[in-house]
Amino acid sequence: MNKKGFLALIFAVFFVAGIAEARKTEITPADERDWQVIAPQDSDAPLRDYAMLYEAGGHDGNIGVIGIPSMRVYRYIMCGVDMHNFPFSGSNAGNNNGTPDGKFLWVSDKGADAVIEVNLQTGFAERILANPKPFGIHHSAAMSPNGKYIFLTGELTGKVAKMRVSDGATTVIDVPPAPSAPDYPDTSKDGKYLFAGNYYHSATMVFSQDPFKFIKEIPVGKNPHGHNAEPRGRWVVVCDKLSATQSVIDVRQLKVHKVIPVGAGPLHNQPDTFGKYNYISSFVSDSTSKVDLGRMQMVDEFPIHYRVGHNSIAPDNHYYVSQNKYSTGLFNPTGIVYAVNFEEQDIDELSPTYGKTVKLIPINGEPHEGRQIFSTTIQRWNTGRGEEMFTKGYELGDVKVSFDDRGVPGRSLTKRPSLYPVHLANAKRYFIPRDDGKPGVTKEGDVYVVRLKGFSYGYVPRFFHVPKGANVRIIYTNIDKAAGLTKNPDVTMGFLPAGYYGQRTRLDGVRGMSAVGEFVADKAGEFEFYCQQFCGPLHLEMRGTFFVDPPGGTASLSVGDYDEMSKLEYQVLDPEEREFITGGNRLLNTLREGNEPAI
């Protein structure tokens, strides 16, 4: 080999080695990674998540923020007692995620019977919208097209409300015939209708948004739950929880167009942004049912690891998150209240991992509504833009989003709160060995002792009374042997009275022990209690009532200290923070119907 040839050989060797080295340091783009690889990759940090999942955490009282597709938990935003459902502020154009402007979300607190406003840019709870009392909220997932009103379902009293989010003024409708259980709602995108399930009637209720009035009931499958208007506005998809079907309501004719067999125990919908596919969480069959709304049939089904409740879909329709319930044995034990889990599934039909679970993470609380937002909507504060953000707002392309909400109660340009609403702060709770005493109310000294048993799916006693001013001790015992349909025997049973006592009385009943809660019954009224720990298909129907009777009378939904409780002053500890609470009975039925278009 001559000298030139030798030099060429050395050059070639170095060239090949250089390429190999360059390939080693090449970063795999986040969207092209195989997420089933458990070991972290070099390119994991810093990690850009293109979307963020906001989830109402149920009894942990938080809104959780999780990155998509990494499924890393970014943070928790403290909100209240038992967080259930929310819309993002902006407009409701699109699928369940709407068209968020990045300012707020309004989440229902079933435990405190209130709506909490979370500022997405500061990441703190900022205002409390007090429901009129009695109401017994479950959901606040539906918003009018113009974003000025939200619709609330009072599952626990049979009422439905339209609330103006600027000040909490409401119009409340009693849904006939009693008993009614207004359940998961959604609005038609064009501002005409509000749809909500009523599991006592196995029907979908239809309301006019403006003027706000009840129109009719549409019979659907047994015990309907999830209701969602798909983006094109033609169909409302209904999960017939106990019929293993999906009822598809024709919005133009207001009647059922088709009933589609789906996986057993359908609970919640996630239509994609096209209204082409609807993804359903099927609780009993442990699966995600994929329904083609073009063909009107189920076209695919993805298995999931554990029983599912709510679900969410990425804004680009590429990922679906199954928000599962039971997880015993799946993760390390963390105490009496175990972690539940979120399972991310790839729904990109062109992806090699289509239909597969790509991430599974433990999660706190007992999550309910999940909605995903492009991460570009949330601004960065750590770039010296604080003052500008505070006073002027920010831009999303051409769209200027302002925080200048002068004249709106509880909002100002000089003071922006970071509320930390009371969450069991004054609660006295403890566990004792299993109490097998007879269920009912007995008086022991000056204490009214309530022995309450919980099982799948009910309470004994179903009703109980204590006098106003009584010292109350509730001994709550889970008497389940196994959880019926479920494959997991260790189901925690919950007890949570909605409203005033929800702040101090939440109990979690595990088998083998009894949970005790003590409080003074200083406000009279009728209080519906429910199970806050997802325990099976009829968990939602697991309800009871306790009455705190006023002197010389019997409490009811019309006899009680409701005006006082509706002020929600007990929701914050600092009296100065009460200026951030608005709404309540003071503004009940003060909307000017017909003059406040919802579109």
Partner: protein
């Protein structure tokens, strides 16, 4: 005779109801359209969109509201996912999904969100394949 006439009238009524309530592609009161942006009037903030994946494409005039976002929904470039765009950056020929609703007086269709789509995205490919197979988007099954 009267009997036959009434039967014919009733039959025609039932038939017309069926036609009136059948879905043959996009309709004026839909709250979402999918197609190609064929014309942009930046001054008036009006776009024209010609639908795709339907048996008979239709063209709709969509009025962008002040709060109408233009956002990249799907893209080949991961760093562009969710990027907000200005109207001046929007180009004719762009494949998009537009969400909004008709005004109550029926005069204008009010656009609230323009989502820019990647023509190679699985949903676009799915809608294309379905349409080729005779399952058209927005048609009644």
């Amino acid at each position: 005779m009267k009997k036959y006439l009434s039967i014919i009238v009733v039959s025609l009524f039932v038939l017309s109801c069926g036609v009136a309530f059948s879905y043959e592609g996009s309709l004026p009161d839909d709250t979402a359209y999918v197609g190609t942006i064929t014309k942009i009037d930046r001054g008036a903030r009006v776009i024209e969109l010609t639908t795709k994946f339907e048996k008979t494409p239709k063209t709709w005039k969509l009025h962008m509201q002040d709060e109408c976002q233009i956002q990249v929904n799907t893209t080949k470039n991961p760093s562009e996912k969710g990027a907000f765009k200005k109207l001046s950056e929007l180009k004719e020929g762009t494949l998009a999904e537009v969400h909004g609703w008709p005004s109550r007086d029926g005069g204008k269709w009010l656009a609230r969100k323009i989502s820019i789509l990647n023509p190679d995205d699985y949903m676009v490919k799915r809608l294309e394949a379905d349409a080729k197979g005779g399952v058209y988007f927005g048609h009644e099954p």
